[in-house]
Symmetry: C2
Subunit: 298 residues, 2 copies
């Protein structure tokens, strides 16, 4: 009767890419070793983007060549076909592509139209399917866009339907700016789970407004069982207490396990990884329940 | 089509009673004036307990005699029949009584058996009904007890059924130690809403494990529309960041209003009250989304 929840740990990518402090490749490797020891089944190692655009992610190919020998799914973010090719060359067979759901986000962020972005995504998905590479397709700003405001559910559902025809290994609904509310999450994810089943779906939440755990619960209620999370809640501004980034892995593990789900993640190991992150970043990291969890594991 | 959510503000009672710093009656009056200006429909002013046991609440009778002339429901906590009589003498016509749901909590906390506590509660409810006083009956430690561990749902449902025969104005399920998870909340509250309807029910959550908002969402899903909350999340240890007390009023307002519910509370006024609290306590107060909310209202 046990129900598994699959967590993809994204601190080493989505977390680190937002940091003003740039970690060395060696530090990022140490972090990945610590994260691999938590028992997490999926681990994002970095992204194959231009080091000029995102210097925090320079050297991801070097990391890909030296991954800890742990039996889990390593993946990397690729921004486009060039990134796809670099990641494959580096030996990565599980990719994430992020496609913003609104016209203005695409125009402002990557100077492409929404249609051009979707076609790029479809091309990558088709090539990956032919080459046996697993791709998680992310629909970013799926609830609210910093340029357009609230995003209509029907617009997102249409884009999902279109992308699903190209058989992503997973379609991830991403609340990129942390603006989703649980009612909107439950409504959208219930429709998607009814249409596609839970195995092909995931959610990626940011905890900007402290509704991250409520949103995870709402998605669980809708049947979603695959979530991105970031150790220590890394991903916001690390020097502004309360300006949280991604929903913290330890908060998601606590929530899920308190309700009887299994994540396979060992909390003491995870808190060790968060402590390592705090050292490296030079500022205390930790999710919303950090104080309580730390006491529990002391 | 608008749905109202009724918030009872408990910072001036449940929040302050946990503080090592004791505010003066004048400070508590200033806080109540600020809280009354937020638009909150229900405001707990203090408790009629022995000043030896809870010195933070000494002088509640003086406060009761000088309440801000705002049209809202003022209430006070009464621990027993003596407290009930003192509160009525002070002119308070809306009371809260807290009854712990487990044998061990009652034995350890007030040296009564669970049965004695229930009988005391029934006596107060019967007298209040006869005298036209509204009483909110709280079932404390309704999900987990610090002495007995997890509390069975059926035990709580039995106690609710028994108390409901004595017609409380509201029956409030209280997660006193912040140990509830949203699945347990939704299960219990759905059964109670099905049995009694939402008008007679409320929830009181603590945010110890950062699941406060997820629990509020779960209760909303079950149909609950009445919640206790504390401005600034006051109620935990104010000098340990992250050791949160009651679920913060501003977080609950944000959650509810993001989903289209109306609370009647003006966020800028509420944040002013939180700032006043921070000054008085001498340490920054604020809910989980404090940084984000402060920016929004700047």
């Amino acid at each position: 009767m046990t129900q598994q929840v699959v967590i993809k740990e994204v601190a080493a990518r989505d977390g680190l890419q937002a940091q003003p402090k740039h970690l060395t490749v060696e530090q990022r490797m140490s972090l990945l070793v610590a994260l691999a020891q938590t028992g997490v089944p999926e681990l994002e190692i970095g992204s194959f983007v231009s080091p000029k655009a995102v210097p925090q992610m320079a050297g991801t190919d070097e990391i890909a060549a030296n991954l800890p020998p742990v039996d889990l799914a390593y993946s990397a973010l690729v921004p486009n076909m060039k990134g796809y090719e670099l990641a494959v060359q580096a030996g990565i067979r599980s990719h994430a592509i992020a496609l913003a759901a609104t016209e203005e986000m695409n125009q402002n962020n990557i100077r492409k139209s929404l249609e051009e972005t979707l076609v790029m995504g479809e091309d990558i998905l088709d090539r990956a399917a032919a080459e046996g590479v697993a791709v998680h397709a992310y629909l970013a700003v799926a609830f609210e866009c910093p340029y357009e405001g609230p995003v209509s559910e029907s617009l997102v559902l249409e884009q999902v339907d279109r992308l699903m025809q190209h058989k992503p290994a997973r379609l991830v609904i991403a609340d990129t700016i942390g603006a989703a509310n649980p009612a909107a999450v439950q409504s959208m994810m219930q429709k998607l789970v009814d249409r596609y089943g839970p195995d092909q779906l995931g959610c990626h939440f940011h905890d900007t407004r402290a509704m991250g755990l409520a949103n995870v619960y709402a998605a669980l209620q809708a049947g979603v069982r695959q979530f991105d999370a970031s150790a220590g809640g890394l991903g916001g501004c690390p020097f502004a207490p309360g300006a949280k980034g991604n929903v913290a892995t330890e908060d998601v593990v606590m929530l899920c396990e308190s309700m009887g789900y299994e994540t396979g993640i060992a909390m003491p190991n995870l808190l060790d990884a968060v402590a390592l992150l705090s050292d490296m970043i030079g500022a205390p990291q930790g999710g919303r329940a950090h104080t309580w969890l730390t006491k529990q594991c002391a």
